[in-house]
Amino acid sequence: MTQLWQDLRYSLRMLRAHRSLTLVAMLVLALGIGANTAIFSVVNAVLLRPLPYQNADRLVTIWGSFLKLNIERLPAKAAEYLDYREQTQSFAQVAASNSTNYTLTGTAQPERLPGTRITTNLFSLLGAQVALGRGFTAEDAQVGHENVVIVSHTFWQQRFGGASDVVGKSLRLNDQNYTIIGIMPAGFQYPQSSFPFGEPAEFWTPLSFSTEQIAQRQPPYFLNVIGQLKPGVTLAQARTEMRALAQRFEAQHPGYRGPNNADGGWRITVNQLEEEIAGQSRVALLLLWGAVALVLLIACANVANLLLVRATTRKRELAIRAALGASRFRLARQLLCESVLLALGGGAIGLWLAWWGVEALTALKLENLPRLDESNLDWRVWGFTFLVSVLTGVLFGILPAWQASRPDVQQILKDGGAGVTRNRHWLRNALVVGEIALAVVLLVGAGLLLNSLLRLQRVNPGLDINHLLYAELSLPSSRYPTAENARAFYDELVSRVAALPGVEQASAANRIPLTGVITNDPFAIEGRQLDFSNPPNASWRLVLPQYFHTVGIPLLSGRDFNAQDGNEVAIINQTMARKYWPGEDPLGKRLSLGVPSPTNPWKRIIGVVADTPQRTLESAPGADWYLPFAARALRDGHLLVRTVGDPAALAAAIRQQVWAIDKDQPVTKLVTMRESVHRTLGARRFNTWLLSGFAGLALLLAALGIYSVISYSVTQRTRELGIRMALGAQMRDVLRLVLRQGMALVVIGLVMGLAVSLALSRVLHGMLFGIGAHDPLTIVGVTVLLVGVAWLACYLPARRATRVDPLVALRHE
């Protein structure tokens, strides 16, 4: 122990004595460790940290699916939920929720706020208790008793200033009075923003089911069900049980077969909640984590190189120590102590850099990267940084320690530490080759993602996303009980907004294009036999007249909807026309949404419009068709406004028009289309720019590595260069000599890196758009970039070599 303490003290003194090297090495390590810490904090938040609920690892989601009809993640009907509760053995508890927006009135402006209706056992399933007041009781779920509300801590603070007498007060939600019975503790959220259902609620109301809902087993599919597995029950066991239950449903109840009683592939799926949240981000995050690990490896190689250089200047000191009896182990330990201390210093700076990094990452507020906002430097991140620092210290210290701990004492002491010939630095060269190869792997990955992003940004959206604004509206059934009431509201709103100065055109639709949300349903074509086991499928939208003109989708043939159109017309897109009426004119043909019936008549195709990507810019166009508002009762819709100038400038005027029609009607969201499309690319942009940043850092570090090796080599070869110049070598000969040495390493590293990239490219396959994983343009681009940067890194010391004064060099012994 005393010896170790001695080693530590001596190491600190050595690090202080070589301040410049210590600083450079620490900074290089700080970049590597800092990037790792920042990404680990995201990985920690998204993939590792349990959800803040009791037994979070045992929480599962339960969905219905009609696999053969391409319908998945179907929420449950009330009767199904009750069966899940009562007819299963795998779950300790099963609870359900239904997230919805409530209109809060009685305040300065009507507001649309997210709330969640929950079964009364949900909080106990989650292990949550109210901080003030009381929780829900079974009585609260009785029909007629459900006008009670539990509010979030934030809501309580913001709306009531944290007043202790809030329990018993009332809130006006959806034109009804609700009594506040409890306050949840600070920090409690359900659902979380990352959940596959709803957005974080500001308050919760009890769910009650009518006897009809239970008895008739009819839609709506409205319940998001979560269960808590019993201790010891595995996910696989729960899945087996639910598969058997699904078969019982199919055998005992109608409605679990496809159209005409065909096999619809009905299943009940059980997924771990944490996995469901993190699942989509897992590959991308692990990829980023892998990328920063490579950056750290490059940093290690760089610092190992620096230490190898220093080891050569310390040969004499180590030889004297060995001559005085230091064992090889003792010498190696001494050097490892130094490298671990260096890495811990780098880790400390890295932690500071990571703090900034995490701040910057969470500030991005990406909607499609779940739990990103929970990233922080908790104990786990601190522990990770410490561990990585120590491992890093050992990793980059082991080679120099191994090499320096076996000095040729006799030779070194005889010639005073200066060799007669230039050492062949195979180890340093190998490290640089490794650095370059790793940098190439990252550059190819980043290049492919960047190329994909650029291609995606150039995708023709099929509509004009500039000067287009949409407002999200949700009309309460209490004030708009019929389809006609809702239609009248939208008609009036559209005509009022269209008359505003600066507005070119306005319309409305139930779904906004390119936002990822579509409604896909089977349809029937008149005169054709319907294959019930595999019916044709298309996404459909309800739109008002002038929708296509407003959003900028060209009408290719036929006509647009008009105010007189009822429930018997439709407009289809080009893909649908090509797919279902190849070589025919679809105009005049008839189709129906599902099986036609007196209330769901055949719809005659009156127009064909151009394609748009079906879900987001990343998806190919699919079969889409459009129906007039008269086809369905529509309360949740979107007002679309084409403006002459800046669309955001009209936001206030549009709100005023909504309130002029209905003063209690909130506008949930007012977003420009450009912003909306931009957001859908958020996660991809995040991955791309981060990976590009890491690849850039890797390139910089690799260039630094080449520079330091060549620079050191030039210093070591000063005398040789002097001899060559004395013998008549021109500057270009010297330049070529040095460049050739450096570029040979670059070429070897490049070839190795490209080979590894090609082998690993499968990992990226799912994240690419419009290019293959072996995209030649990317590979050429990476090659040119790397060779260019590496050439510069070699050129700088090579240029210094040409300035060697042969006279001075020959005296240099």
């Binding site: 230039r422 005398r719 004395a726 008549g728």
Partner: protein, 230 residues
């Protein structure tokens, strides 16, 4: 005016360090004719090596004129000086200055590689030069595998391989024992007998007498010049 291979007139070299002016050479007049063997002798610090550096175009005079083969060289740029060093001057250094990572053959070949000469021609010349110094059998060895005397013979082969106008030798025996020193001096004499022009710097009077003519420097000036008896 005689047709001297090398002529210096009033060459001066001044070094400035910390505002101190040091006159390394003052008003040197020197002529070396084709086929002549000249030694420059003098005590340490008298300016011998500085003079040789200027003669070898490794350094420039502060003042005065210097012509090689009838052409003034003081205004030449770096590339032209390198070209002359490569084609018209052969260097033999005290510490051999062989490149440790190159074989004997590659060391000797080195000046020819800067001429763009064909590989076959280079091979012929290198082998001839190594034969001349009796080192052909060690062509594939590294310098570290040779004795000091052998290394200096390789250095001589490298100096003559390009068939320069003049050989400049800076204390060629300085790092050698007396036996090897004598052997190298004998080698230089042989080359001289074969027609080579040699200018050798030495502080050893015994070796200085091997030359046809000796020039004695003291404090940067020529203090004595005379023919040696052979």
């Amino acid at each position: 005016m005689s047709d001297a291979l090398l002529r210096m007139e009033g060459v001066t070299k001044v070094f400035y360090t910390d505002e101190v002016e040091t006159h390394a050479l003052s008003g040197i007049h020197l002529e070396i004719n084709q086929g002549e063997y000249v030694s420059i002798a003098g005590p340490s610090g008298c300016g011998k090596s500085t003079l040789l550096s200027i003669l070898g175009l490794l350094d420039s005079p502060s003042d005065g004129a210097y012509a090689l083969n009838g052409k003034p060289v003081q205004g030449l740029n770096l590339a032209e000086r390198a070209r002359i060093r490569n084609r018209e001057i052969g260097f033999i250094f005290q510490s051999f200055n062989l490149i440790g990572d190159l074989t004997v053959y590659e060391n000797v070949e080195l000046p020819l590689t800067y001429r763009g000469m064909s590989s076959a021609e280079r091979k012929k010349r290198v082998n001839a030069a190594l034969e001349k110094v009796n080192m052909a059998h060690r062509a594939k060895h590294l310098p570290s595998q040779l004795s000091g005397g052998q290394q200096q013979r390789v250095a001589v082969a490298r100096a003559i391989v390009g068939e320069p106008l003049i050989l400049l030798a800076d204390e060629p025996t300085g790092n050698l024992d007396s036996t090897n020193g004598e052997a190298v001096m004998e080698l230089l004499r042989e080359l001289h007998r074969g027609g080579a022009t040699i200018c050798m710097v030495t502080h050893d009077h015994r070796f200085a007498k091997h030359a046809d003519r000796s020039i004695h420097l003291f404090d940067g000036r020529v203090v004595e010049e005379g023919q040696n008896e052979q």
